[in-house]
């Protein structure tokens, strides 16, 4: 097995301006925020970003004006309202959007995972989601029944970025037995071309081997793995830490204006050289301990 353990800098170096990028996580669970802050610092722009229920990671990239196009099921801030920077980017025409409903996005991921150009659904008849996107949603006649179905183009991206719970240096990432499963990280990993994962903790391979059924991202699929504790902050990593209400509220409040969003980026992204300094900046160990939700496990 190949040692794939590396740094954010090395893992993300291949992601250049103009790349397409699938971002893992859903709502406030495990968006790859540390990796996204690194990408913003590195200055990449013109990204095509895909997500399931995108929140902080998509909105941070929008704040940095790094998104040319977004495709997915949702971008918002969950119980913190609409995504302020993403919303502004779409409203002023800087971000092109292509909406997909959930079965459509599932079809796209499964098609990519199977190496197929599309998979069919029958969800979007009569919906403007199909009307405005003839490039990726097309009706065709079922060769068996003659029924009209909708072909949904595969979700092919250059890179896929997922934040996970724990993994070994070979890139095997494991989930805990009890977790919040409302996400599409595993199908995204299966659909990936170049898969970069960050994890809360690197654990010994010997531990992974004892419970291989918990490995939802096999190292075999992974290009690089990076240990990034609190890598989803200010969002949550279910079973480990909750969302940081103070930081989330500050981000949303400042993002009401372009200047406010820029001041946030200047302070928490460009103003810190790396993730370790970021964690100090948001309050360090004492503040982060208040988010801890582990129950003696």
């Amino acid at each position: 097995m190949k040692d794939k353990l590396t740094t954010l800098e090395k893992a993300l170096a291949p992601v250049i301006s103009g790349s397409s990028l699938m971002l893992g996580g859903s709502l406030l669970r495990r968006p790859p925020n540390a990796a996204v802050r690194h990408l913003i610092r590195s200055g990449v722009r013109d990204l095509t970003v895909m997500s399931w229920a995108g929140t902080t990671a998509v909105d941070l990239l929008a704040a940095a004006d790094a998104i040319r196009r977004w495709e997915g099921i949702y971008v918002g801030m969950f119980n913190y309202g609409l995504a302020p920077n993403f919303r502004r980017g779409v409203e002023n025409g800087r971000i092109e959007v292509r909406d997909f409903s959930e079965t459509a996005m599932v079809a796209r991921l499964r098609a990519a995972a199977q190496g197929l150009p599309f998979l069919p659904i029958r969800t979007l008849f009569g919906s403007d989601i199909a009307r405005v996107n003839p490039e990726q949603i097309r009706s065709f006649s079922c060769p068996f029944t003659g029924e009209t179905l909708q072909a949904i183009a595969a979700a092919e991206t250059d890179f896929t970025l997922i934040h996970g719970y724990a993994g070994d240096k070979y890139g095997n990432v494991q989930w805990p037995v009890v977790r919040d499963t409302d996400d599409m990280d595993q199908p995204m990993a299966a659909a990936a071309k170049r898969l970069i994962v960050t994890v809360e903790k690197i654990i010994p391979h010997e531990e992974v081997r004892k419970q291989p059924s918990l490995t939802y991202i096999p190292g075999n699929w992974v290009e690089a793995i990076v240990e990034v504790p609190f890598g989803a902050h200010p969002a949550a990593c279910d079973t480990l830490y909750d969302e940081d209400d103070r930081q989330m509220s500050d981000y949303v409040a400042r993002s009401r204006t372009v200047e406010g969003a820029e001041s946030y980026l200047a302070e928490f992204v460009h103003g810190v050289p790396d993730h370790t300094t970021y964690l100090e900046k948001v309050g360090g160990a004492a503040a982060l301990a208040t988010l801890d939700v582990r129950m003696g496990d």
Binding site: N79, T123, D242
Partner: protein, 266 residues
């Protein structure tokens, strides 16, 4: 007569729409009034139905199938979701999508930024899609709900900005342009079934599929309803009053289901 809040009226009314063994989709999101409409009232309604006439009714919430509604979380941070006990928690959201597409859901609870005469709804964009006045959240599984669920129920406050002649963007196809246009477009049975608001309940006329006033909440007038809408619904000759909750339903809601006023708060 016992006094009751509008939220209690709606929760009790909805509980009577739930049949035994119904599988009901409830959303997870937002806060404030939107939370009460999308999450709080639906959870209270299904629980009340379970306790009274529909013990087999179940909820799919987040990615939890049959979460324990006898212990509904009282704080809605991530860890409360993670620890909520349930019968099943499939490995990813794709499972729920498959269940939707195979028409396993009987009821869904939905809200929208805009809803029109024929029950088409919009949660994607206000104004022009490509240069919107307000970009909203996208679509989630709302198109699936209207495409595949047997009896989608909309839960919204009555408001001219939300109840519009024509939605700016059809996120979810309801009854499209009425009549059999939904079937013509390739959609099966389903589409919006009821619209329950803070002032009245609506359904959709069998022939035209246009929104129709079904009942007025106690104390609400017809004119009050019409002045809160951007179009005129079908008005029947006699308009019944929305059935009020009885004392037993109110006691169950207040003492057992929502003792700390979390679900029906605002």
């Amino acid at each position: 007569m016992t006094s009751f809040s509008t939220n209690e009226l709606i929760a009790a009314y909805l509980s009577r729409q739930i049949r035994d063994d119904d599988l009901c989709f409830v959303g997870v999101g937002t806060n404030g009034r939107a939370f009460t409409l999308a999450v709080g009232i639906p959870l209270a309604a299904v629980r009340l139905a379970q306790m009274r006439h529909a013990p087999g009714a179940a909820v799919y919430w987040g990615n939890l199938l049959e979460p324990d509604l006898s212990v509904i979380p009282e704080s809605f941070t991530q860890d409360a979701f993670t620890r909520w006990e349930a019968a099943a928690c499939p490995p990813d959201t794709g499972t729920k999508c498959d269940m939707l597409a195979r028409r396993r859901f009987d009821v869904s609870f939905n809200s929208a930024a805009q809803l029109d005469r024929f029950g088409n709804m919009n949660i994607t964009a206000i104004g022009d899609y490509r240069a919107p006045k307000v970009r909203l959240v996208g679509s989630l599984a709302q198109p699936e709900h209207f495409a595949f669920v047997r009896r989608p129920i909309l839960l919204m406050d009555l408001d001219k900005r939300s109840f519009v002649e024509r939605v700016d963007f059809i996120t979810s196809a309801g009854h499209l342009s009425g009549g059999d246009s939904r079937r013509q477009a390739g959609l099966g049975e389903g589409g919006p079934h009821l619209v329950v608001t803070d002032k009245a309940v609506f359904d959709f006329a069998e022939d035209t599929r246009a929104m129709r006033l079904r009942s007025l909440h106690p104390g609400v007038t017809r004119d009050e309803v019409l002045s809160s809408m951007g179009f005129e619904p079908v008005i029947p000759d006699t308009i019944p009053e929305t059935t009020a909750p009885n004392a037993e339903e109110l006691t169950t809601i207040r003492k057992t289901i929502d003792p700390n006023r979390i679900l029906l708060k605002v």
